[in-house]
């Protein structure tokens, strides 16, 4: 075998090993997260209660309370943390690759604030202007999905798209610098933050409380209905994105080179941004604003396995899921019996990581 073929297969093997390790770490983290409710349960308790869920006539639950907490509260929470972390990690990688800027992410580009504003807007004005729809509900696979859920999703996506459109418009010039892209995102983020503040100001007591808690970013409001909405959206979006891995590799060479390699650059960029905006907005609509996962996950994976998107996209998703799930689990236990919003932990972790990125001289490609 030639040197290059041998190098390629060694690299490929290493990337696959990384993926397998990431999946194992995620599974272990998920199991540990399931073991923690209001107290630390032994793994056997979790297994027995899951056994009861699947084979009720064969296996008894340890207690009705344990069973309900595990299957109705902890399980959907863990699943939403995994989906949200995966989606934000993937969305961050896509944004970084399309804009060739390692500092962009759904959070730093203002998408999180925009989607957050969209969701908060429905929470405040939804019950007033469309109360019938807002309080309506229907059953899907045994779970109640409310009109409010759907309205929040659509509004978060709509405002998310608006923010991405604004970023693309501000960065239209060919010679726009990397820092200007970040500044554009920061400005858009501020505008929507102003909108959120205005909404808080005009909202009544119950809406204000709902928005304030939701904005901190956390998994406490999620249930199986949330999973039923965001899982299919995020799954489909992820498949569409990962199937185009080859085109993301080509985009690394710049717009002109990508076009000469057969990519319709503007169409590909707009389409991919719409898809990741949908994924990220859907998650943000249910979990609130969770910053920096989409910044950290791609960067860590790029450092570990390189920039081949055939592996990087999936790896970043897995890394995002691991980061968010572990952070959420820590948030649940760090001040027991209370819990901390996971958004707080992400801000601390992300802030430190961001400082590391902008102060690091080599490899950040900032001009």
């Amino acid at each position: 075998m030639s040197d290059i073929k041998a190098l390629y297969s060694t690299k490929k093997r290493n990337k696959k090993r990384f993926m397998i390790t990431a999946v194992l770490v995620l599974l272990i983290s998920a199991f540990v997260a399931l073991c923690i409710s209001t107290k630390f349960n032994s793994p056997l308790v979790v297994l027995q209660n899951y056994g009861h869920a699947f084979f009720p006539s064969l296996i008894e639950a340890t207690s009705a309370v344990d069973f309900v907490i595990l299957t109705r509260i902890i399980s959907p929470r863990v699943l939403v943390a995994v989906i949200t972390g995966f989606s934000l990690g993937l969305a961050g990688t896509v944004m970084q690759s399309l804009l060739r800027n390692p500092l962009v992410s759904p959070f730093t580009l203002g998408l999180s604030s925009a989607a957050g504003f969209g969701a908060a807007l429905i929470m405040v004005v939804g019950p007033i202007i469309a109360s019938g729809l807002y309080y309506s509900s229907f059953t899907f696979i045994g779970e109640h999905i409310t009109g409010a859920n759907i309205m929040v999703l659509i509004s978060a996506f709509g405002f998310g798209l608006l923010s991405m459109g604004a970023v693309l418009l501000m960065c239209r010039s060919k010679n726009v610098s990397q820092s200007v892209i970040i500044l554009a995102g920061v400005i858009i983020g501020y505008l929507f933050q102003a909108g959120i503040t205005a909404l808080k100001y005009i909202s009544n007591d119950s809406a204000l409380r709902e928005i304030t808690i939701w904005l901190m970013g956390g998994m406490w409001g999620v249930n199986w209905s949330s999973c039923l909405i965001i899982l299919p959206i995020c799954l489909m979006c992820s498949i569409v994105i990962i199937r185009q891995a080859k085109l993301f590799n080509v985009m690394a060479g710049g717009d002109d080179v990508a076009k000469s390699l057969g990519v319709d650059v503007h169409k590909f960029r707009s389409r991919s941004l719409v898809i990741v905006t949908l994924m990220a907005s859907a998650c943000i609509g249910f979990t609130g604003i969770i910053g920096f996962v989409g910044l950290m996950a791609p960067h860590i994976c790029r450092m570990l396995i390189g920039n081949d998107h055939k592996y990087l996209l999936l790896a970043s998703g897995l890394m995002g899921a691991i980061i968010l799930l572990i952070s959420d689990t820590v948030a649940r236990v760090i001040i027991l019996p209370q819990e901390l919003p996971v958004g707080v932990i992400m801000y601390i972790l992300g802030g430190i990581f961001f400082i590391y990125l902008i102060t690091k001289k080599r490899g950040n490609n900032l001009q």
Binding site: I4, V250, A252, D256, V257, D308
Partner: protein, 255 residues
């Protein structure tokens, strides 16, 4: 594959940069494009590479109009190396060069794709850098990787926009020599914007000199590059000397 530029006009907004230019490039030819800064070299190259739509005129590839050829078909016929380099950190040289096979690849590269990558890396003398991250290399090493990526496309026509500008003396000569050999032995052609007159004299089959968006002169390098054309096009006084290796320019003053 013969390429023919017919009455091409190109610009930005209403400003005309390239004004009604016509010429052709034949298979197996290295054609150098010479002209001062702002004369429209990059605009012409980008238009011919299909990256921008001309204001008027046609570009024919064989007997097909470039406008009628899809992007994916074009990517197998022509490749482009830009003047400025863009990259993402932590991309290895191997992955960078391999991305040149994108028009031919599905998910994983085939044995043939990897053989072509290996050959391209060897031509550009960067095989030992294959595992290095692109952000850890010098500008010249990166530029050689980008040329290797273009070679990987195995196109019929190469468009290079001042690709030797960040290379050291050895690699400027080496790159031009190897590209000249490649084009002559593989039935392809190279259209290259270049600032180094001596490289153009030595390694081109034909030279096109442009000034203010129009062709000033066109022909064999020894015939068209002379004291008068350098003075008219660049505003530089120069003398020429000749030895067994050919003709060389010695610029000495600007006007």
């Amino acid at each position: 594959m013969r390429m023919e530029v017919q009455s091409l006009t190109q610009g930005y907004g209403k400003k005309v940069i390239i004004d009604d230019i016509s010429f052709s490039i034949d298979t197996g030819e290295v054609v150098s494009l010479l002209g001062p800064n702002g004369s429209g070299k990059s605009t012409l190259i980008r238009t011919m590479a299909g990256l921008t739509t001309p204001m008027s005129g046609r570009i024919m590839i064989g007997d097909q109009d470039l406008a009628d050829i899809s992007l994916s078909e074009r990517s197998k016929i022509m490749s482009y190396v830009p003047q400025s380099y863009v990259y993402m950190p932590y991309t290895t040289i191997l992955d960078t060069v391999l991305s040149g096979r994108a028009p031919y690849m599905s998910w994983e590269p085939s044995e043939e794709d990897l053989e072509i990558v290996e050959e391209s890396l060897a031509i550009m003398d960067i095989t030992d850098l294959a595992d290095c991250n692109i952000n850890e290399l010098s500008g010249g090493q990166r530029q050689r990787a980008f040329i290797a990526r273009a070679l990987c496309q195995t196109p019929k026509i190469f468009f290079f926009d001042e690709p030797t500008s960040s290379l050291d003396l050895k690699y400027q000569i080496d790159t031009m020599k190897k590209m000249n050999e490649y084009v002559h032995t593989r039935d392809s052609s190279l259209f290259i914007a270049i600032h180094d007159i001596n490289l153009a004299l030595r390694y081109s089959d034909r030279v096109i000199m442009i000034k203010d968006g129009k062709i000033y002169c066109e022909g064999k390098p020894d015939d068209v590059i002379n004291e008068q054309s350098i003075l008219d096009v660049y505003g530089v006084r120069a003398t020429f000397t000749e030895n067994e290796n050919g003709k060389f320019i010695m610029p000495f003053d600007s006007v």
